[in-house]
């Protein structure tokens, strides 16, 4: 049976605005306040006001203000579509996909998608209880944290394909160099491979610099029809393809070195009518360095097993141009989407990828929960 999920809405919706709070280790305010600040900033960027908004969407794991609280807090006059999705990074991009679906179907005209977290000062994701039922068979052994799980998968990849610590290190160094050009980024001091190798162990084979930051902050993006977006101040960034799901196997399935993204990516590219060779800039979910390695493979940028070599080659597609979660900050996926928008608008300043027309942005690749999501965004030409 042909998979045509969302294929019918190719380019029918667009991202018209992005907004951020500042990123920090202690925002000093509630997630509700963070959400409102990012949403108002995104609307201002889009040339819209709260009166224009009829939909709000987020994802959370019990750690943030829901749309049904944020809507009244902003005095939205006509909320008609709320999405409050349970889940972490793996669903981060499906929130935008579902907003696009709602807008394309006429359920809403202007949907603001947001993620607001105090992930350092209030709710530390890395120390949160694993919500999956599998935890009953893992947690009693001290196997509790995403850092451990990704370290386990990284080791399997190292064993099977000879991936080296230096490959992971190259990703950390590359993303820090990108962050140095990003005024929003929390970690802007360049690092070397030696700094990476000298950083302390978290869970071998992962060192501190393999792991993303824990961040307080929020980010929001405005989704509307492409038609309406063309009347707004910024050039529209088209939502060309959106996919979620994948992951027919549990996360300790037959091959530890393959993520749910391998099942999702053919569907995503098919919806876009594009392939990895068409992607000018990639924002790859980088909860840990290894997640970049496995996604370069599973999104088809290189052969299986060569993701580390590819990432470290210096000739990889420009990736995580904002510094990623490793160095810009961790807003659970939506800051990758916002950076892709900036690159396609051509307003990324010192870190602009010249002539970027097509961007891939991806979610947690389905290792922690066996599903993922991703977007292909395109400049309106």
């Amino acid at each position: 049976m042909a998979k045509r999920l969302l294929g019918g809405i190719r380019d029918r919706t667009a991202i018209a605005g992005v907004g951020y709070t500042s990123f920090s280790k202690d925002s000093g305010v509630s997630t509700l306040t963070l959400a409102c600040e990012a949403i108002l900033a995104a609307l201002d960027d889009a040339g819209l006001t709260p009166d224009d908004v009829d939909g709000l969407a987020t994802h959370r794991v019990g750690d943030s203000a829901p749309p049904s609280t944020v809507g009244p807090a902003l005095g939205l006059p006509a909320p008609s579509w709320y999405l409050d999705q349970f889940g972490g990074g793996s669903v981060s991009h499906s929130v935008i996909a579902q907003a696009a679906l709602a807008v394309a179907a006429g359920m809403a005209d202007v949907v603001v998608c947001y993620r607001a977290i105090n992930a350092r000062s209030e709710f530390r994701m890395g120390r949160a209880a694993n919500p999956a039922p599998e935890a009953a068979f893992q947690a009693p052994y001290g196997y509790v944290a995403p850092a451990q799980m990704y370290a386990m998968y990284a080791r399997a990849h190292m064993t099977k394909y000879g991936t080296q610590p230096e490959h992971f290190g190259a990703i950390a160094v590359t993303e820090r160099a990108a962050a140095a050009k990003n005024p929003r980024a929390l970690m802007r001091t360049p690092i070397t491979l030696d700094d990476y190798l000298a950083s302390r162990w978290i869970a071998e084979p992962f060192r501190l610099l393999d792991c993303c930051l824990e961040t307080d902050g929020a980010c929001a993006v405005v989704v509307t029809t492409t038609e309406r977006a063309r009347d707004l101040p910024h050039p529209p960034v088209l939502i060309t393809a959106a996919a979620f799901g994948g992951g027919s196997h549990p996360f300790d399935g037959p091959d530890m070195t393959v993520s749910a993204a391998a099942e999702l990516s053919p569907r995503l590219y098919s919806m876009a009518g594009l392939g990895p060779a068409d992607v000018d800039v990639a924002q790859i979910y980088d909860c840990f360095t290894y997640s970049v390695v496995v996604q370069f493979e599973d999104y088809g940028f290189c052969a299986k097993g060569e993701g580390g070599l590819y990432a470290a080659s210096g000739s990889a597609v420009p990736y995580n141009t904002h510094g990623g979660f490793l160095s810009e900050g961790y807003v659970h996926g939506i800051n990758h989407i916002a950076e892709a928008v900036s690159q396609l608008r051509g307003d990324a300043g010192d870190r602009q990828v010249p002539g970027a027309e097509v961007a891939l942005s991806t979610a947690q690749p389905g290792y922690v929960l066996a599903a993922t999501s991703a977007l292909i965004l395109r400049k309106d030409t």
Binding site: P133, F137, Y141
Partner: protein, 113 residues
């Protein structure tokens, strides 16, 4: 730490039995315990004793959440679709493909050496 799907397995381990589920309809072996067979969707199953050995698929050495603990991922010899986690008790570090033997703990868990 136990839930309604895991309680039966935990009881078996407490009795010193190394078991996994086996579908009574299509013989597919599965772990962790699940009521429905993901292959044939039957909910008729039994606890199947299997050899308490496996091969090391991967491992980590934790320095943060359970400092000093080596945690292994083990694929069972007689049920290669089944993976278990546990602490590694041997003196030497594990290596990929190495045979691991189950150890029943006093608190009804499975470790490996």
């Amino acid at each position: 730490m136990s839930d309604r799907d895991s309680a039966g397995w935990r009881s078996a381990v407490a009795n010193g039995d190394f078991v996994i589920q086996q579908c009574s309809t299509c013989d597919t072996r599965r772990f962790p315990p699940r009521e429905f067979c993901s292959v044939c969707h039957s909910r008729t199953w039994q606890w199947q004793p299997v050899e308490p050995t496996g091969t090391i698929e991967s491992w980590i050495v934790d320095h943060t959440f359970a400092p000093g603990t080596t945690i292994v991922m083990v694929r069972l010899t007689n049920a290669p679709t089944c993976v278990m986690y546990g602490r590694w008790l041997a003196e030497t570090a594990p290596s990929a493909g190495q045979t691991a033997h189950a150890v029943f703990t006093d608190d009804a868990l499975i470790d490996w050496h």
